[in-house]
């Protein structure tokens, strides 16, 4: 849940989607599962002007409509924030094959 007070996000990362069909159902599910495997709160957006959404919500990730070649930005907050960001970036860079 998003609080009213601005959060101080602790870790950041980014990676470009390399899949002709973009962030379709299978990668979206993989991305949220990977996010859920961490305690940290993780948010993602598509493009530097996109809206941040919860990276643990498959419905929200699907609605990003992130296409091939688009850059995903991540930010995280919590005890394993840095590890979580590294894992998210690695997943995208491995074309969701991880």
């Amino acid at each position: 849940m998003n609080g009213i007070i601005a959060k101080s996000w602790e870790a950041f990362g980014e990676a470009v989607i390399r899949d002709p069909t973009g962030l379709h159902a299978r990668p979206a599910v993989k991305l949220t599962r990977r996010a859920k495997s961490h305690h940290a709160e993780i948010e993602v957006r598509a493009g530097s002007a996109g809206t941040w959404i919860n990276a643990k919500s498959p419905n929200a990730v699907m609605k990003l409509k992130a296409g091939n070649g688009e850059r995903l930005y991540f930010r995280a907050l919590g005890e394993d924030a840095a590890v979580a960001i590294a894992a998210m970036v690695a997943l995208v860079e491995q074309d969701f094959d991880g």
């Binding site: 390399r18 899949d19 002709p20 069909t21 973009g22 379709h24 159902a25 299978r26 979206a28 599910v29 949220t32 599962r33 919860n54 643990k56 919500s57 498959p58 419905n59 929200a60 699907m62 609605k63 409509k65 296409g67 091939n68 070649g69």
Partner: protein, 541 residues
């Protein structure tokens, strides 16, 4: 005396080929609103129980299903565990709503959001949300909503057929399905093709207007559903079903064998690719390579693909082909294939207008991106670049010059690349008559447009179907001329239009001297069978 019942013909789109005769069984959707709200705690518990039941059902379907459906089902399962998606439902229940209404109302909003906008892929996922909505509603409603088991051989009709409903139906007991919604690219269509279930989509009438239990003919070859068919229709359909069964058996046996005529001549068979996803169901050993990649698929998502996206798509196809040649056609927009932001609007006669290479040469920046991506893909395997709608030799020369500069730029940047062979699609009669004058590394005959331009009969006008005859002697003469031009210049000639996918036309094409055909993936077995039944080149040539 009572009038005999007239047969009723409903048109649709054939999403998965096949034929069936059977009784209609109507698959109705369920609606929320029947449940009387208990206390918020009761409703919350009912929702949780329904979610658990839905999760179990989907898990069982994943166990039983194949890869295609597994991806879709896993997405649905993930949605059931999406706290953000469920939070507003729980909030509505806490405020006093019945579980079914709370669930259905929120999901309806999400489905509408998926359908809004021009994103084709996301609109298709709206099906999955609707599927989930129905599954959880059925669980909430209990046994009342359980669908009855249809009669053996029945034809299922529905306004919408969801992917998970599709995979849980027993298709060995059903003849096929006709649905009002959907498109050839929707997931249900992919599932039906993968399983060989005859399917019509986009039916022109809703399921509520169909007589439940009435006899019908599902003709997913001619794209129609005939309700209350007359004896002649039934008889004709029975005969076609028999012919299909024989063909299917022999075609399945033929698919992985080389295509050799009865006279001992080997015919190379390539596959057409208009959607790379179909390659997953095709064995690379069943073809000599890819004879036509229609790159328009890259341009159908509302935005123009960049070099990386194009390279990626080409790379995947080249890797799939494992060293076999891959012929990629440069963007063939215009005519009957408008693409937003590329083609010109309001042309009086688009088939005779800015299309194919004419459009590419008019937009060198866009074309240059494609040529770069193609040259990069050529570093990974034998890529042949085919230029559509070439009419005069200078057009091909211009493309060659643009390819040269694309390659020079890649060279200067140190990006891996190779020079692909550059050939032309022969579809304009002027080019067919003078083919030997073109500096082409290969010729591939585009029979659809060649027939249309030779007979002056628009291919999208059903009234001219008889006139647009691929066996018109003028068409065959043009094909022979291209074959001769190839022989005299020592370059390869193939044919990649619809003619090559029709078993009845294979004989005449071989008689014209063609030894390479590029075929729709689903027709490869049948075409090989037709090759085998052909005696070989006629001695009179």
């Amino acid at each position: 005396m009572a009038e005999p019942m007239r047969e009723m013909v409903l048109n649709g789109v054939a999403a998965s080929e096949g034929l069936a005769i059977g009784r209609l069984t109507i698959d109705r959707n369920v609606a929320a609103g029947s449940r009387r709200a208990g206390s918020p705690i009761d409703e919350a518990m009912a929702l949780d129980a329904a979610l658990v039941q839905a999760r179990r059902q989907i898990a069982a379907l994943i166990e039983a299903g194949d890869q295609v459906s597994a991806d879709i089902l896993e997405f649905q399962q993930a949605l059931l565990e999406d706290d953000d998606l469920l939070a507003p439902v729980r909030a509505a229940i806490a405020a006093g709503a019945a579980a079914d209404t709370a669930w259905s109302t929120h999901l309806a909003g999400e489905i509408a959001a998926y359908r809004a906008g021009d994103d084709e892929y996301l609109s298709a996922r709206a099906e999955d949300l609707f599927d989930l909505e129905q599954r959880v509603l059925r669980a909430l409603m209990g046994s009342v909503a359980r669908a009855p088991v249809p009669d053996a051989g029945a034809i299922l009709v529905a306004d919408e057929l969801t992917p998970s409903r599709f995979v849980e139906l027993d298709w060995s007991r059903l003849g096929g399905a006709a649905i009002r919604g959907g498109s050839r690219t929707s997931h249900v269509s992919i599932l039906a093709r993968a399983r060989g279930v005859p399917l019509l989509v986009g039916l022109e009438a809703g399921a509520d207007r169909m007589p439940d239990g009435a006899l019908a003919v599902l003709d997913a070859e001619a794209a129609r559903l005939v309700v209350l068919p007359g004896p002649a229709t039934i008889e004709a359909t029975r005969r076609r079903i028999g012919e299909r069964a024989v063909l299917d058996r022999t075609a399945t046996a033929a698919i992985n064998q080389a295509a050799v005529t009865a006279g001992g001549e080997r015919i190379r068979i390539y596959s057409n690719v208009d959607d790379p996803a179909l390659l997953d169901n095709l064995s690379v050993d069943s073809v000599d390579g890819i004879g036509l990649v229609r790159t328009e698929f890259l341009f159908h998502k509302g935005h123009l693909p960049d070099e990386a996206a194009q390279f990626d798509a080409y790379r995947r196809i080249v890797e799939w082909a494992k060293g076999r040649p891959v012929t990629i056609r440069t963007l063939d927009a215009g005519g009957d294939k408008p693409i937003a932001g590329v083609t010109e609007d309001g042309e009086a006669n688009p088939f005779l207008g800015m299309r194919g290479v004419r459009l590419s040469l008019a937009q060198p920046a866009l074309f240059g991106i494609q040529l770069r991506a193609l040259a990069r893909a050529a570093a990974l395997g034998p890529v042949r670049v085919m230029v559509p709608m070439v009419t005069v030799p200078t057009e091909l020369d211009e493309v060659r010059a643009l390819m040269r500069s694309a390659i020079d730029a890649l060279e200067a940047e140190g990006v891996a690349h190779a020079t692909p062979s550059l050939g032309m699609m022969v579809e304009v009669p002027a080019a067919a008559l003078t083919a030997e004058r073109f500096d082409a590394d290969f010729y591939s005959i585009g029979s659809n447009d060649l027939v249309q331009y030779t007979t002056a009969a628009a291919r999208d006008n059903p009234a001219l179907e008889k006139l647009a005859d691929p066996l018109n002697p003028a068409v065959l003469e043009l094909i022979r001329r291209v074959v001769q031009a190839g022989e005299s210049r020592g370059v390869d000639v193939s044919l990649c239009g619809d003619m090559a996918s029709q078993p009845s036309l294979i004989g005449p094409l071989i008689d014209c001297g063609l030894r390479a055909l590029s075929v729709a993936p689903a027709q490869i077995g049948r075409v090989k069978q037709a090759v085998r039944q052909h005696a070989g080149r006629t001695a009179a040539a």
